[in-house]
Symmetry: C2
DNA sequence: CACCGACATTGACCCAGATCAACATCACAC
DNA sequence: GTGTGATGTTGATCTGGGTCAATGTCGGTG
C-alpha cells in the first residue's frame, strides 16, 4: 500500500499517470482511462539538472519522452561548434519520435527539468492499440512542422528587430499571455541568439532597442514585460 | 468499357490508381490493393502550368494532394513581399494536410505539373479505415520536420558558400545521384535565393565561385554537374 | 532575321549585424 | 565582506552578403 500524503508513486519514483500534472495537455490525454495503468507501467521518470543533456544528436533513438516540468532546448551542432537551436519545449510537449535509427538533434535542460520516459518499442506497441494517440502525435508533428516553417521565414528573411519581436510574441502566445503582461525568459541570451540565428551581442542590443522604443520592459534578465502588444506583433510581421 | 491502348482513365481524365506512375512511392502505396478502387473514386487530376498557384497561404484547406509529375515550391510571404520558400516537392510527395482551418503556405508550380487531388473530409474518412496510410503520413511528416530543422541550421548558421553547397548536395541525394553526375535544377535563381535566405546576386556569385573551385560545372542555367562530390559534402557541412 | 522581355551574371559600393574588446552585474565560495 | 567566474551590456570596428546598376544570354514572336 502506498501512503497518500502525496499522490501515489511507484517504486521508480514516478507518479501514476492518473496523477500526472501534464496528462491533460500531453499526448497521454488521448489515451483512454482504460490505458492509464498500462501507460503508468511503461513510464519512468527522470530528473535533469539545468545544462545536462537528455540525449545527443546521433544517439540511438530508443526512448521517447513527455516533458513534465521545466524546459528543454533542442539543437543541432556543426563540427566547428556553430549551433542552431531548433526549438524550446515546455511541459506537455512530446519528443524523441525520430523516424530513423537515431535522434536528429540534441536535447538539453534549460532549467531543472523532469521528463517521463518510455522505451520506444513498447511505446510503439501501445500506439498500435490506441489510434487516438497516434492521431494526436500526427497532429503535434504537423503543428511542429508549421512552426518550423514559420521559423524558416524568420531565419531566412527577418531583420534582427523582427526576429526578437517574433520570439517574444511567440513565447507570449505559448504562455497564453493575451495582451500586455510579464513573460518569463528562462533561457540565456546565448540560447536566444542560437535560436534566432544572431549573436548574443545583437540579441542584447535589440532587447535594449525595443526597450527604448517602449515596446517592452526588462525588469530582470529573465523576464520581459510586454508594454505594447499590438506594436510588437506589428514589428514581428504577424 | 475503357479501351486499353493507354492505361484506363475515368471521366475526370485521371488515370486509375492502379496505373498511377507514382503509386509505389506515394502515400497511396500504403493502401492495400482492396482500397485502390475507393482511392481512384476519390481522386481527381489537375494540371498546373509553370508559375500557376495550386493554393495560397490562408486559403481554406479543404483538399490534399499527391504530386504526380513536375515540381512544386511551397512558400510563405511577408506583407512587403519578402518570400521564404520552405520546400520543393517532387513526384510522390504529399501535401496539404494542414492541422488547422487553412494552408500555412502557398504552393506554386515550378514547371508544368500534375497533382492528384482528394477532398479532405473523404480523405480523412479513408485514413480511418487505413491505419497503414496514416502511419505513412506520420512518417513523412516526421521526415519533413527533420528536413525543416536541417534547413533551420542552414538559414541560421551557414555561410552563402555552405548554403549553396548544401542545396546542391541535398538535391543530389533526393535525385539518387550517388557520386559525381549531372543534376537538373528546374527552379530559377530567384527561387533558390528565397529558399536559401540569400539574394539572386549572391546565389549567382556563389555558383560561379564553386565553379572556379572546380567543385561543380554549370553547362546550363538549369543543370549542375557535380565534379567533386566529397569536397562538396565537406563544404556543405554534412 | 531583329527585337523584346525575362532571367542571369558581374562589378562597385554600402550597411546590418558580426567580431573584438571593455566593462557591468550577480550568484556563489571562502 | 572580497574574490571569481559566468552572464550580460555597450562601444568600436570590420566584413559577408545586400543593394544598385550595367551588361550578358537566350527563348519566343512578328
Amino acid at each position: 500500500m502506498v501512503a497518500k500524503a502525496h499522490p501515489s508513486a511507484f517504486s521508480n519514483g514516478h507518479p501514476a499517470c492518473e496523477d500526472c500534472g501534464v496528462r491533460s495537455i500531453a499526448v497521454c490525454a488521448a489515451a483512454g482511462v482504460e490505458l492509464l495503468p498500462r501507460l503508468t507501467a511503461l513510464a519512468t521518470g527522470r530528473r535533469i539538472d539545468a545544462g545536462q543533456t537528455l540525449f545527443q544528436e546521433g544517439d540511438v533513438a530508443d526512448e521517447v519522452f513527455t516533458l513534465t516540468e521545466g524546459m528543454l532546448k533542442l539543437y543541432k551542432l556543426m563540427s566547428d561548434g556553430r549551433r542552431q537551436i531548433v526549438g524550446f519545449l515546455v511541459p506537455g510537449d512530446f519528443l524523441g519520435l525520430a523516424f530513423g535509427r537515431s535522434y536528429v538533434y540534441s536535447a538539453e535542460a534549460v532549467v531543472p527539468t523532469t521528463v517521463c520516459r518510455f522505451r520506444r518499442p513498447q511505446f510503439l506497441d501501445m500506439l498500435e492499440d490506441c489510434p487516438a494517440m497516434e492521431k494526436e502525435i500526427l497532429g503535434r508533428t504537423s503543428t511542429e512542422l508549421a512552426a518550423a516553417q514559420e521559423q524558416m521565414l524568420l531565419l531566412g528573411r527577418k531583420t534582427a528587430r523582427e526576429r526578437v519581436a517574433s520570439f517574444i510574441v511567440s513565447l507570449a502566445r505559448r504562455s497564453k499571455i493575451e495582451h500586455e503582461g510579464s513573460l518569463p525568459l528562462p533561457m540565456s541570451r546565448s540560447d536566444i541568439a542560437d535560436y534566432l540565428g544572431l549573436t548574443i551581442e545583437t540579441v542584447s542590443r535589440t532587447f535594449t532597442l525595443l526597450r527604448k522604443e517602449k515596446l517592452i520592459e526588462l525588469p530582470d534578465k529573465h523576464v520581459v514585460e510586454i508594454k505594447k502588444r499590438a506594436e510588437l506583433e506589428q514589428v514581428a510581421g504577424f
